[in-house]
C-alpha cells in the first residue's frame, strides 16, 4: 500500500511535469498572428530599403462622420532606389472643404515641387550630391528594439486577437478586430480621452468646419485591421479602421471612423520620371544648407553688426550698434573682436556692454559653429557661441554669461549682418 501511494505520486508528478514542459515548449515555439504581422512589417520595410530596386507606396486615409467624409488624403510615393529618385503625388480634402493636390520630385541633385493652386515649378538644385536614402528602414534605428519591447508589453494580451489565414498560393491574410468588450476599459478610456481632446482641439483651430464636437459618452467602439502578405512574405496592403462613438451637445450620436490603407505596389517595375519643365513657369533656387563644410570660409572675414535699440516715448530709438569683427578664419578656427559703439547722446549705456577679443575652434564635424572664450576689459571671462550661417549670410553671436541687457532697457538679438558699404 505504501509503495503504491508513492508510485502513484511519482507518476502523477511526472505526468504533470511532462504536460507542462511539452505544452510550454509548444507555446514558445508557436508563432502567434501578432508575431507574423510584426515579421511581415519588418521584412517589408527591410526589403523596401535594401532590396527592391523600385516600388510604389500608396497611402490613403479618410475620416468619416456617420459615413459622410470629413477629411481625406491620398499620397503616392514612387521610389527608384537605383537612381536615388523619388516622386510624391499627394491630394486631399481638408475639414473645411478645401481641396489640395501637389506633386514633388526629388533626386540626388534636384528637388521639384508644384501644386495645383500654384502652377509654378519650384526647383531646388543642390550644390553637392545628396546622400539621402530614398527610404529609410525605421527598424534599423537605434531605439527600434527598445520601442518594440515596449509595444509588445503594451499590446499584451491583445496579441491573441490577431488571426492568420493561409491561402493555397502561399499568401497570407492577417486580420484582427476588437470591439468594445474586448478593448480593456483602461485602454479604451485613455484612448478615447486622447482622441476626444485631439479632435476637439483641431475643431477649435478651424472655423466653420464640418467636424462635430463630441462632448459626452465618448468611447472607442471598434478597431479593425487586415493585412495581405504575399508568398514572399512581403506585405502588399494593410488596412486599419477605428471607430470612435460619442454625442455632441445636442445629444446626436456621432460615429467617427478613421480608415487608413497602405499599399505596396509595382515592386521593381515602378518608374520615376522627372517632370518635364519645358514651357513651364519655373523658379530656381540653389541650396547651400545641409553642407557642413564651407568651401570658402574667408567670405566671413570682415565686420558684422546689429542694432541696439531702446524704447522711449512710445517709440523705438536706435542708440548704437554692436559689432563682431572677424579678422581671421580658416577651416579650424575663427578669431575676432566683439565691441559696441553708441551714439554720443547715449554714451551712458556703453558701460553695460563689454568689449573683448575671442578665438574659437570649430566643432569637429560642424565647420560652421564654435564655442569661444575671451576676456573683457574688466578682466572677466566671457564664454559664448558663434555660428556662421552660410544660408542667411549672417553671424549668430551669443554670449552665455551676459548680464545687463534686459535691466538697462537695451534691446537687440544675436544675429549680426555683414557691414557691406
Amino acid at each position: 500500500m505504501k509503495f503504491k501511494k508513492k508510485s502513484v505520486m511519482l507518476v502523477s508528478f511526472t505526468v504533470g511535469t511532462l504536460l507542462l514542459a511539452t505544452t510550454a515548449l509548444a507555446d514558445i515555439a508557436s508563432k502567434s498572428g501578432y508575431d507574423e504581422l510584426k515579421g511581415a512589417i519588418k521584412l517589408t520595410t527591410e526589403q523596401a530599403s535594401e532590396k527592391f530596386d523600385s516600388f510604389t507606396l500608396d497611402y490613403s486615409m479618410a475620416l468619416k462622420d456617420n459615413g459622410k467624409t470629413l477629411e481625406s488624403s491620398n499620397e503616392t510615393l514612387k521610389v527608384d532606389r537605383t537612381k536615388d529618385a523619388s516622386e510624391n503625388i499627394s491630394s486631399g480634402l481638408s475639414a473645411n472643404g478645401d481641396k489640395r493636390s501637389s506633386q514633388s520630385y526629388s533626386d540626388k541633385t534636384t528637388m521639384i515641387r508644384v501644386s495645383e493652386s500654384d502652377p509654378t515649378y519650384y526647383v531646388t538644385e543642390f550644390t553637392k550630391e545628396r546622400k539621402d536614402e530614398a527610404f529609410n528602414n525605421p527598424f534599423k534605428e537605434e531605439e527600434a528594439a527598445d520601442i518594440e519591447k515596449i509595444v509588445d508589453a503594451v499590446v499584451g494580451s491583445l496579441k491573441d486577437h490577431v488571426v492568420v489565414t493561409e491561402n493555397p498560393d502561399g499568401s497570407k491574410a492577417i486580420t484582427g478586430s476588437l470591439t468594445e468588450v474586448q478593448i480593456p476599459s483602461l485602454v479604451n478610456a485613455v484612448a478615447s480621452f486622447q482622441l476626444k481632446q485631439e479632435f476637439n482641439n483641431q475643431n477649435n483651430n478651424q472655423n466653420n468646419s464640418k467636424m462635430p464636437r463630441l462632448t459626452k459618452d465618448v468611447f472607442v467602439k471598434e478597431v479593425k485591421g487586415s493585412a495581405k502578405v504575399n508568398a514572399d512574405g512581403v506585405m502588399e496592403s494593410i488596412l486599419g479602421t477605428a471607430v470612435l462613438s460619442g454625442k455632441d451637445e445636442q445629444g446626436t450620436v456621432h460615429e467617427i471612423s478613421l480608415e487608413a490603407l497602405v499599399k505596396v505596389m509595382d515592386i521593381n517595375t515602378t518608374t520615376v520620371t522627372k517632370p518635364d519643365l519645358t514651357g513651364k513657369k519655373v523658379v530656381k533656387d540653389i541650396a547651400r544648407y545641409g553642407d557642413a563644410e564651407m568651401s570658402n570660409p574667408e567670405k566671413f572675414v570682415g565686420k558684422f553688426k546689429n542694432d541696439i535699440i531702446i524704447e522711449k516715448d512710445n517709440k523705438f530709438i536706435k542708440v548704437g550698434e554692436r559689432f563682431v569683427d572677424i579678422t581671421q578664419i580658416d577651416g579650424k578656427s575663427v578669431t575676432g573682436r566683439y565691441y559696441s559703439e553708441f551714439k554720443p547722446e547715449f554714451e551712458e549705456y556703453a558701460a553695460s556692454l563689454s568689449d573683448f577679443k575671442f578665438e574659437a575652434k570649430f566643432e569637429q564635424d560642424q565647420k560652421t559653429s564654435a564655442n569661444f572664450e575671451g576676456t573683457n576689459d574688466s578682466g572677466d571671462k566671457v564664454r559664448g557661441h558663434i555660428y556662421l550661417s552660410e544660408y542667411e549670410g549672417q553671424v549668430n553671436f551669443n554670449i552665455d554669461n551676459f548680464n545687463g541687457s534686459f535691466g538697462s532697457g537695451l534691446m537687440f538679438n544675436s544675429s549680426f549682418s555683414p557691414v557691406l558699404d
Partner: protein
C-alpha cells in the same frame, strides 16, 4: 465519498466561521461600488462613456483577478494550512478517521469553492451595477462571453491556490508564506513584461487568460495550450503539496 463529504463540510464550516470570508465579500462589493463611482466620475468629468453595461463587469474582473482575488486566495489557503499548523488544531483534524489525502483534497476543494463563491458574487453584483448605471451595450454574445470569462478565471486561481498550499506546507510560518507569495507574484508580473514572449508560461499572465475567450476568432489552440500548461502545473503543485503534507509530523 461520504468521508470526503464530511471532511469537506468540516473545512467549509471552518472557512465560513472565519471573519475573512465576510471581509472578502465586503471588499468585493467595495470594488464594485468604487469602480462604478470612478466610471460615473469619468463620464461626467471627462465626457467619456467609461464603460457600457457589459464592459463594467469586465473592468471589475480585470481589476480583481490581479488584486483582491489572489490576495484572498492566499489568505484563505494560508489560514487553512499554516494557521492550523501553528494553532495545532491540525492534530484534531488528523485524528479523525479520514486519510490525509482526503483532508488535503477537502481543504483545496473548500478553497476552490470559496474562490468560486467570490467570483459569482462579483459577477452578479457587477452585472447589476453594470445594467443599472451604464448605457446598455449588451448583446447576447458579449453577455455570454462576460459570464464565461468569470467562470474560466477559476482555473488559474485554483492553480494559484495549489501553489500557495504548497508554500504553506514548506514554510511553517504563515507570514513567511504570505510574503514569499506576494514577492513571487510581483516578480512574475515584472518578468512577464520583460520577457513578453515567454509570458504565457507565468501564472500571473494566466490569470488574464479569460481574455482569450473574448477573442472573436476563438483561438482554440492557444486556449488548449494554456489549459494544458495550467493543468500540468496544477498536477505538479498538488502532488508536491500533498507529498509534503503527507510526510509532515504533527
Amino acid at each position: 465519498m461520504a468521508v470526503f463529504q464530511a471532511a469537506l463540510l468540516n473545512e467549509l464550516e471552518k472557512l465560513y466561521k472565519k471573519k475573512k470570508v465576510l471581509v472578502a465579500i465586503l471588499l468585493s462589493l467595495a470594488v464594485i461600488v468604487i469602480g462604478q463611482l470612478v466610471i460615473v466620475g469619468v463620464r461626467s468629468g471627462f465626457g467619456l462613456r467609461g464603460t457600457g453595461s457589459v464592459e463594467f463587469p469586465m473592468l471589475v474582473l480585470s481589476v480583481v483577478v490581479n488584486t483582491i482575488l489572489p490576495l484572498f486566495t492566499a489568505l484563505v489557503a494560508i489560514d487553512s494550512f499554516s494557521g492550523e499548523f501553528t494553532q495545532n488544531s491540525m492534530r484534531i483534524t488528523l485524528t479523525r478517521p479520514v486519510s490525509r489525502f482526503k483532508i488535503y483534497t477537502a481543504k483545496i476543494t473548500a478553497i476552490v469553492l470559496f474562490i468560486l463563491g467570490a467570483l459569482l458574487l462579483l459577477l452578479v453584483f457587477s452585472l447589476l451595477a453594470g445594467f443599472i448605471f451604464n448605457t446598455n451595450s449588451a448583446t447576447l454574445d458579449s453577455l455570454s462571453r462576460t459570464v464565461f470569462s468569470y467562470f474560466v478565471s477559476l482555473l488559474p486561481l485554483t492553480v494559484l491556490a495549489l501553489a500557495i498550499a504548497l508554500l504553506a506546507n514548506i514554510f511553517k510560518s504563515g507570514i513567511a508564506v504570505f510574503f514569499v507569495s506576494i514577492l513571487t507574484f510581483l516578480a512574475l508580473k515584472v518578468l512577464g513584461v520583460l520577457f513578453s514572449q515567454y509570458s504565457s508560461l507565468f501564472l500571473t499572465t494566466q490569470l488574464d487568460w479569460y481574455n482569450l475567450f473574448l477573442v472573436n476568432s476563438f483561438p482554440m489552440l492557444k486556449i488548449l495550450r494554456q489549459f494544458l500548461i495550467m493543468l500540468g502545473s496544477g498536477i505538479m503543485l498538488f502532488t508536491a503539496g500533498f507529498y509534503i503534507f503527507d510526510k509532515k509530523e504533527f
